[in-house]
Symmetry: C2
Subunit: 156 residues, 2 copies
């Protein structure tokens, strides 16, 4: 009566394995820029959003503890890649925005990552990648506990 489905078919296991493989290769791709995956994520989010990207929102979107964001922003700020500005409307919020250098570094980083992705995703046709993206988004944000990507019909 034991289901005993092989773990190699388990979605959680596969997700973890795939995520790990990709993250490792991204990590190598970013090493020359002295960036790690997390730093890159924060930097990139700081590049987007002309609106105010607070640390709290960063934590929510990245599904990280707010205290981890502090350290990440600290390092990026000390390297002159992002600004940390208190929100005039609510001075509890610190708004994270990329500097000019930050934008350039982020762009460089993204190109390196794209190159790294080739080794992983170029086997599979774009339509399937779109499908994958869709599914992952559903799973990653199904709880709605965090970042906004849920109902994606807006103005864009």
């Amino acid at each position: 009566m034991s289901t005993q489905r092989p773990l190699a078919d388990d979605l959680g296991f596969l997700l973890s394995r795939a995520s790990g493989v990709v993250a490792r290769s991204v990590s190598e791709a970013l090493a020359p820029l002295d960036l790690r995956v997390r730093s890159y994520s924060v930097l990139t989010f700081a590049c987007e959003e002309t609106a105010g990207m607070t640390q709290r929102r960063l934590a929510a979107i990245m599904a990280l503890d707010p205290s981890q964001i502090v350290a990440l922003v600290d390092e990026l700020q000390s390297r002159g890649l992002v600004h940390r500005t208190p929100d005039p409307a609510d001075r509890r919020n610190k708004i994270i925005s990329a500097t000019d250098v930050g934008h350039r570094v982020a762009q460089d980083a993204q190109q390196r990552i794209d190159r790294a992705y080739n080794g992983h995703f170029d086997h599979v046709p774009p339509e399937r990648l779109d499908e994958l993206r869709l599914l992952l988004r559903e799973i990653a944000f199904s709880d709605t506990s965090s970042g906004e990507p849920q109902a994606q019909a807006r103005d864009a």
Copy 2:
């Protein structure tokens, strides 16, 4: 000229986020059994495979450093969930096999995990989940550097 594709559409980011969300909920589901995700994986692999599952193979399949397997097996063994038997053919290899208790605990764990998965995957129809599994397998094992799941046509 900046591509500046939003990070929320990035496959690496989505993989990490989705993996994290699922892992967290699995972790909670296993807490009552005093198991974490990694321990469960080792235990489950020890349940499969009447053949010899060595620690080296565990490390390869789970994409972990061999030294981490040691600690995981140590704990499972101390709790009487797995055996660590030197391979008679090559005594360098330690074959990891689940005890009777181990099998029962693994089964219990799997049921709890399945229940936890309902919250994540029941939205999406089975065919799409199969497609997802397929894609993840390709990505997770594309390098062939590790565990065998590549050419899946065997005897089963």
